[in-house]
Subunit: 257 residues, 4 copies
Amino acid sequence: MKTTTIKELTKIELKNPILIEGLPGLGMVGRIATRYLAKQLKAKKLARLYSPHFPYYVLVNKKGSVRLLRGEFFFWKNEAGENDFIFFTGDSQAQTIEGQYDVAGCILDFAEKNNVKTIVTIGGYRKEVEKTPRVVAVSTSPRLLNEALKAEALPSSAGNPIVGTAGLLLGLAKFRKIDAICLLGETRGYLPDPRAAKSVVEVLQKMLKIKVDLSEMDKEIEKSKEIVERMQEIEKRREKHAQKMRRVEEERISYIS
Amino acid sequence: MKTTTIKELTKIELKNPILIEGLPGLGMVGRIATRYLAKQLKAKKLARLYSPHFPYYVLVNKKGSVRLLRGEFFFWKNEAGENDFIFFTGDSQAQTIEGQYDVAGCILDFAEKNNVKTIVTIGGYRKEVEKTPRVVAVSTSPRLLNEALKAEALPSSAGNPIVGTAGLLLGLAKFRKIDAICLLGETRGYLPDPRAAKSVVEVLQKMLKIKVDLSEMDKEIEKSKEIVERMQEIEKRREKHAQKMRRVEEERISYIS
Amino acid sequence: MKTTTIKELTKIELKNPILIEGLPGLGMVGRIATRYLAKQLKAKKLARLYSPHFPYYVLVNKKGSVRLLRGEFFFWKNEAGENDFIFFTGDSQAQTIEGQYDVAGCILDFAEKNNVKTIVTIGGYRKEVEKTPRVVAVSTSPRLLNEALKAEALPSSAGNPIVGTAGLLLGLAKFRKIDAICLLGETRGYLPDPRAAKSVVEVLQKMLKIKVDLSEMDKEIEKSKEIVERMQEIEKRREKHAQKMRRVEEERISYIS
Amino acid sequence: MKTTTIKELTKIELKNPILIEGLPGLGMVGRIATRYLAKQLKAKKLARLYSPHFPYYVLVNKKGSVRLLRGEFFFWKNEAGENDFIFFTGDSQAQTIEGQYDVAGCILDFAEKNNVKTIVTIGGYRKEVEKTPRVVAVSTSPRLLNEALKAEALPSSAGNPIVGTAGLLLGLAKFRKIDAICLLGETRGYLPDPRAAKSVVEVLQKMLKIKVDLSEMDKEIEKSKEIVERMQEIEKRREKHAQKMRRVEEERISYIS
């Protein structure tokens, strides 16, 4: 495989489709939110993206078979609304600079071909989150940004970088006359963060006038809380030990000098 | 040299050939097993693969000449059975991400051209091995997987990554309608591990209904045992020394505090 | 995006244009000087350069929109003089070796297309600067070098490397029969250094017979002085602390031995 | 610049030319030997090689001009002998794996075009050299290897890698039916090593039946000896200091425990 390739699994006519993208990244926010939406809406397989810029390993699945790392497109026929949806998520981001630009370009090729006029990308925003994580929005379209702010997203301060596919899609979409918005859930980013993903999904529900059941997400949050608590306990003990070691060292020095 | 290139050394019609691949990797299991089979079956030279993604040095041979790093294809006419064999082994894996995908693609081009319908790739599986190393099998074909399990290979748990050419060949073969199976010999992976390679060869013998003399392999295992024992002794002494140093340090701290 | 691309924003006939280039680099000297000149001369947007060799993130701007990293060409119609000017600056240099050569080549393609016969590149020169930073000049044209020396630039000693776009443009311009000069402002290089940029601008004013108001630059220098002073204080304290620690350690050792 | 490019400076018919290559590498042996031969024989400029795989900086020369890093071909009309000579040396080797294969391929393109049938590459061989450095030879041609051994070069043991252009040229020349030999001067490799280069030149003189004055080389060796002696003194002092520190530490530990 020499170039990034998209393999279509089905042919379907979509009605003013909106593309929602979320790949692995900070706190896995984009991937968790996008997968959750696709799953809850029972979105169907549309296409797969393979790339020589993905890591060079394959993954074993439950049946003892393997598959290449890939991106996956799903679609959802939104009978009640004006826009069908395409979801894009996957195993990995491209691993090289040039690969990042290349994969983002291929995603946009596919979006254009399917008459996508609006793209939503999802990611994480590093922050020491106290209570409910907030969602930061940036957009190449004032209209979309306004809709996000009405849905309780916050504007971003200038100068922030948005790294990876979630950012590049916005930057490159402009040249194709595709409006795009990026929603970033606040996250400490160390571990998969379903809480941040939930905040993004809530903003998205309001913006896109869709409704998904969030109870499964709450279960994931409970599970992740336990992991975080265990991690924090380990961290505390480590810190305590480090303090003790510093004290020992200080005493040694004051003793000697 | 700008692209990966295969130079054919002979033209031959092969009968339903099966490709067996093993390159250097964890414990050298793939390379040792593949070379052993090719040697014992007196397989003949078929083609060579050169690539600008291999390391940029040449190797001196016994006659004082040098050669580029390369992959080598051998063939074996299996008069008694239904399938001839092609073996692929070599000096190195590709050194870049894109190079890994490119080399795997070129191997598959060659396989397709020779009407290969089944591929076996061989590698190592990191594990603290106590007794006889076991062999883990994954396959894109339930039929092949089943044959491996019948030959006493174990199924893999889901989520395991298979890194490098042994994995990518499986992932990419699917697009070409070629069945593929990967056999991974359990190995600590630090040193060339003929014991793990022997386990793989034994599974392969049953699966492929071939018979090779394993006495040479046993000699290699004896030699490698001596090396391992020497290494372990060094390790033990190092650990003893580290323990002593830690004790000294602890005493110092308890003395001071 | 697979290749470096220049998007023209306006078509304009320029009179013997001179290209002045300054990208981020040592002390940000090139970028500060070039941006300052373009701003003071009220240069207008001419074109933008995008590249898959730039870092893979986008920047948020004041309106909450984002944009790709890019290079920017501006032009200034110099009614009083013989030469119009094109300025080139941007967010980043290319991130890979091959990318550096590629981007420099694309800048030259654009220069040639606009009949540029002279290029000035600006950068920083690492030096512990005591008083006013001096400007070092190198040029592929003895005539240009001579003009720079008359404008009080200093010649460079042989063997110095000039890294990045500022250097490659000179090296590559030779093959296109374009004269080029590089002006390097002396700088410690740790922080954005408007003082070094001002020295370069002063040389350029004399060389190119243009006149810009430098009072804004002086304000930037004042601001940066405060930052430098604060940094130096921190450094002093760190050094003091390190000395103290070394003393403690020495005493400990002399005490023990 | 997107690809490696050779710019011819002159057109000349050469008589059975032999190409002698030496780029910077271990101990700079290849570059020193090749430059010395070209200079002593008053070889003339033939062509230059530029590559986007070379480091991305330019070098300032004595006149205050700059130039890209490059490779240089020189030629020498050998009136008395059967073979004219082409010398190839330069500032740098290619910086990426694929670049190494690409540059070696371009050198061979140029060699083929000039009807080169024999190539000599020169490099360094890491060894703690006591007295006069010896020269190790490997060759794709038994005839050439034999000539080198007669000229007092030593054969290489099997398995040695020869890294970089000096090695790849041999490996790749085979495919073009060009005989090639590599001469490696023994060197500690830390510093430019004219002594190792001289040993190689002496072997070459015998092999190629040429005669060059070696007195300039002897001067370089004298200079380098002084540098080595100064370096060794620094090393000794450092070792002494380290020993002292270890003793202090040991005493401290025995004191404490």
